[in-house]
Amino acid sequence: MATHVESLDNGLKVILRPLPDAKALSCWVSYRIGSRNEVPGITGSTHWVEHMLFKGGGKLKKGDIDKLVSRLGGKMNAFTDTDYTTYFETIPASAMDTALMIESERMRNAAFDPKEVEAERTVVISEREGAESQPEFLVEEELWGLAFHVHPYHWTPIGYKQDLAALDRDPLYAHYLRYYAPNNAYLVLVGGFDPAVAMQHVREAFAPLKPEPAPPPMRLVEPEQRGERRSDLRRPGAADFLAAGWHIPAFAHADTPALILLAGVLGGWRGFTRFAAGDWRSRSNRLYRALVEGKLATDVSMRHELKVDPSLFLADVTLAGGASLDRVEEVLDAEIARLQKTPPSKAEIERAKGQVRAWHQFERDGVTFQGILLSSGEALASWDAWDELVGRIDRVRPEQVRDVARRYLVEEHRSVVRFHAQEVPR
């Protein structure tokens, strides 16, 4: 698809994808700041800053962002990831300037009114408490904490409750000023517009913004893990859970395409982005056959967490009532060992590749999803990273899938969390 890419003098990268038939437009502004840029004591600050950027500042009073987008029948939201933070509006294409104005004000002029910061403290804590009510969140937080001792992937973007309780307004505001600048951001527009006209409007909205000194690079590197790490959580719950994570390289690594097919063969493929598949679950994969059809589990997933820095290859299993965690681990190990011994068949690999190709089409359903794809691709490598990756996946041979299973799915680089559901108090 035709895509126009240009950078403004202040460093803002602009990625325009015109879709002539589209009546809507999706505007995404992303910042190269995520929880990986935090340090202990200010965990969760990136996410809290994201919340504050809906509260006005500059030309926008509190409530204006809501009103402006709502009157257009638009949708908007924001997401804080480990690696980046992104804001979007999807609105009728004729209202492009509204989105550009909101985002240019958000970039440098957020108010951070102390009263509003305080009101938002309980909101982010409430968001965390809602997550804490879910055993799956507790397991995930435990797993990343176990697998990473040095690198900030140790904590999740929501941050620790004690940090959220103690953080002040000034460090949050300093965090904002440091990272929210045109030279640490990129803008994606997808939808019904003429690229030359859109570029002119983007310049008018963003060219006056001054760049900031580049943020210091995040230098923390996780040392090699020297043995399996395990944790057993015993808490009230309705089912046992098993989560395992193996260290894998960063997105840009040459093994990424084979690892993606490995995830597909073992656990099925649900697209590159987190929202596209909805509730759909793959059934044509080895772990579903072994664990779900085998009545040991009611849900299983295998995914490659695609990140800027070395990350994790994750298995998550919801156990069936009466199934034992030991037995599920044995079956998981056996399936991995089988793949390490013998490459998947050509038919199995072709099916996995076909799924990736089909999902790549499904993930381009509409301007909002295309905005997610371009923005997340740019955060990891380049706006066209997914297209390029699909091409590389197509060239992977079955032996390469076996080889990455041998290289990365090893016990000494694995962390395991077992959630033992305890009787729920009445």
Binding site: T122, V292, D365
Partner: protein, 418 residues
């Protein structure tokens, strides 16, 4: 967008198609009247919906999954109060095969005993997990209070643990044979389609579906409502969920559009309307605090949902009551109503930007008999709503004396009325 093509096939099935060539794949959505309103044994419709991908008379579950995923297609079945709903995605080239597999799943399921037992395990686990969620518990109990007497709009879709254990393969088979067929079937399809593809790849196979199922029986109206409250202690949780709600209107009721707009202003627009402004934005009490309106064939329900720290429970309930009362003391302003109307008209573009969204809307238009020109008329329907009507329905339906409340979570000894 041109008006969609609507075809009634000889066997009674209705096919709606809309070409949207800019998104290069196909999304479809459909239903047959085999939901909870059709079941005599509670839980059988849910059981059925979980078993339709478990193999056909010609193909095992594994082979079916390999075929579908081998062509890169998705297919899902879901039970709902009124219908068995299905949806999927495929490419233009694989549309014929995808539709053929859909029809095979609907018309020739095998219900292998091993899969029946697997699904039984899955349903038992799902039920236990749901019952351990504060939000689910509050919402589920509220539905039971608003639609009492075991009405299908109110009851747990899975029945109960006992029901799941007792449901037999024979019961599922009989339910399927009686209710799944072309009678009442709707299939909408949107995306990279043209007339030839729809006729050959979709209408052709769909018209071969034998007409064997019973016509859908009328859905009973909900029983009389009496406001009540329920407290569900879940001391091991970190958050309390509050659900408040009461009866609303069926989808075709004269008050629907005014109430839809009132609900938008009350607890949805922007960051959750007036409710979100008070509870989240001003008081910082909750990450989510919003209202919902469900309008079905025979009845409806409005509800409020909020998740809060237990220490903020009383303030939250007080805040909800304040906002309900304010609908009388400080009715929606002209500006609020104008903003809401603009939102609804503008959302016609934004909420239909994806093939899947268009397929879903086409299905809704046919299901509720809104007419294929509904989207063309919608802006006028909204614009012509008198402001006083919106205020009046807000007062009439969001009535604290006609509202039930459920609280689920670690609320300790707190017991306060709405």
């Amino acid at each position: 967008m041109n008006l969609p093509d609507r075809t009634v096939l000889d066997n009674g099935a209705v096919l709606i198609a809309q070409a949207l060539p800019s998104n290069p794949f196909v999304a479809f959505r459909g239903s047959v009247p085999a939901g909870m309103t059709s079941e005599e044994a509670p839980g059988v419709a849910e059981f059925l919906s979980h078993l339709l991908l478990s193999g056909t008379k010609r193909m095992s579950a594994g082979k079916l999954a390999d075929r579908l995923e081998g062509i890169g297609a998705t297919l899902e079945f879901r039970n709902s109060e009124e219908a068995l709903v299905f949806q999927g995605r495929c490419t233009k080239e694989t549309t014929a095969e995808s539709v053929r597999l859909l029809i095979e799943c609907l018309s020739r399921p095998a219900f292998p005993p091993r899969e029946v037992e697997r699904v039984r395990t899955e349903l038992l686990n799902d039920l236990r997990l749901s019952l351990d969620e504060t939000r689910y518990r509050a919402a589920r109990r509220l539905s039971e209070l608003v639609f009492p007497g075991n009405h299908p709009y109110g009851r747990e879709p899975r029945g109960s643990e006992v029901r799941i254990r007792r449901t037999s393969r024979k019961t599922i088979l009989e339910f399927h044979d009686a209710h799944v067929g072309p009678e009442g079937l709707i299939l909408s399809i949107a995306g990279d389609v043209d007339r030839d593809l729809v006729e050959e790849a979709v209408a052709g196979p769909l018209s071969k579906l034998p007409a064997t199922n019973e016509p859908p029986s009328p859905i009973p109206p909900p029983p009389a409502f009496r406001a009540r409250s329920a407290w569900i202690p879940m001391p091991h949780k970190s958050q309390v969920d509050v659900a408040v709600g009461g009866p609303a209107v069926p989808r075709r009721h004269d008050d629907f559009y005014a109430l839809y707009l009132a609900n938008l202003l009350f607890g949805r627009i922007g960051l959750f309307g007036r409710l979100g402004h008070n509870l989240r934005d001003e008081q910082g009490l909750a990450y989510y605090a919003y209202s919902s309106l469900e309008a079905r064939t025979a009845g409806g329900m409005w509800s409020i949902s909020a998740g809060v720290n237990p220490a903020n429970l009383e303030r939250t309930i007080r805040g909800i009551r304040e906002e309900i009362d304010r609908l009388r003391t400080d009715p929606f302003s002209l500006e609020e109503i104008a903003d809401g109307k603009d939102n609804q008209v503008g959302s016609l573009i934004v909420s239909l930007e994806r093939n899947a969204e268009v397929a879903s809307e086409l299905h809704r238009m046919e299901y509720y008999g809104l007419g294929m020109d509904f989207l063309e008329r919608y802006a006028d329907l909204v614009r012509e709503l008198p402001e006083e009507r919106v205020r009046q329905v807000a007062r009439a339906y969001f009535d604290p004396d006609r509202a039930s409340m459920v609280v689920a979570g670690p609320m300790g000894r707190i017991r306060v009325p709405l």
